[in-house]
Symmetry: C2
């Protein structure tokens, strides 16, 4: 059925919003950077109208700061804001875990087991980048299994806001081991389909993550 999917048509503003969001998240545009409308217009070859529309959207998302008559800057996330976000994200992860337990199929579990094993392998070999990627993928998979699209989208949007601290969060060996240990416990709870336990574990896992970031933020400022 529906062999010919709708031809996706995006407005320039929508396209720009995505590209700029990527540039901010990937660090091409750094926190605090002034965003010059003329420069970006030249870069993308569009006029100011769609660019300004997308800047307004990014401002609503909290990625850009708009000051009247003074233009746009890439939002500089305050350490306090990060510390406010982590408990929230912890709760969302907890909910995701709880829901995931109620809907988990055998194939879901098998997939998670594979991903988990692979992630642990990367940890054992000290491969930070692929470890991070799988870590992220596992969390996303749990949200997918949870089956609450609004929840997943909300988590995603909060995750984007703290993009700046991703690089800061270089874990010490102890912290890294702690994170892997958290994941081991999470897998145990998943196998038992113990929603309450998984929920609590995921919240604790996020609390640990918050600690890591807090340490990084208080030691060497970004």
């Amino acid at each position: 059925m529906n062999e010919h999917p709708l031809i996706a048509r995006r407005s320039l503003a929508t396209e720009l919003t995505g590209r700029l969001r990527d540039m901010i998240v990937e660090g091409t545009l750094k926190a605090g950077d002034k965003i010059s409308e003329p420069d970006l217009c030249a870069l993308f070859g569009v006029s100011r109208t769609p660019l300004r529309e997308s800047l307004k959207v990014l401002a609503a998302e909290g990625l850009v700061e708009l000051t009247p008559n003074r233009g746009a800057k890439v939002a500089r996330i305050a350490p306090e804001a990060v510390e406010e976000l982590f408990p929230i994200m912890g709760m969302l992860e907890a909910l995701a875990g709880e829901l995931a337990c109620t809907r988990l199929t055998e194939s879901d579990l098998a997939r998670l087991e594979t991903m988990h094993a692979e992630m642990v392998g990367h940890w054992q070999r000290g491969e930070w980048v692929p470890y991070s990627r799988l870590n992220r993928a596992i969390h996303e998979e749990i949200f997918r299994i949870a089956g609450n699209a609004t929840l997943a989208a909300l988590y995603q949007s909060l995750m984007v806001r703290i993009h700046a601290v991703r690089f800061v969060a270089r874990k010490t060996p102890e912290r890294w081991a702690e994170a892997v240990e958290d994941h081991e416990r999470m897998m145990t709870a998943l196998r038992a389909r113990d929603g309450a336990a998984l929920s609590a574990l995921m919240r604790e896992h996020l609390r640990h993550k918050a600690d890591v970031v807090h340490e990084a933020l208080t030691q060497n400022l970004i």
Copy 2:
């Protein structure tokens, strides 16, 4: 100090965003309504540029649906989306309650006691509108006490999304009594500064609220 506060300057787009959001939340613009750019421009006496910017922002907030080349409609919230939102809001309320318990001062508690007593009075006299207003105020107060601005803002933005169901949620006498009972228990937990208990209660309270809405949605469609 600072007798002359900064003169707040808002762009037309910002002003429009606020006004349109109010119109949608208050029901002046109803869910599913087509939003005609020329009409609204005439209504507010502005050109299309700032109006379009504000529509883009409202679309990002989920209040408006924009279809390429086909204009804007007031977003029609799907029952599934409502059911996805309630567990999320429940978690956020739970977090707010937990945090509030750790920061609650005597004067905070006194204020909540007053509000609660007044709200119960309205319930006893069957005064729905002032009851609702105080109910809302109490929840907002708990978020204020929690001291996490990001959390409060997030809750607020989700609350706005389900504006449409506010009117549906005409409680039956039993449901109304249940809600008041929930609030009684919440006050008890607050007095004892029992964060875990309050957290659980607030989540349950939201679950009840979700039930009321679910009943309304399945019986008579909006």
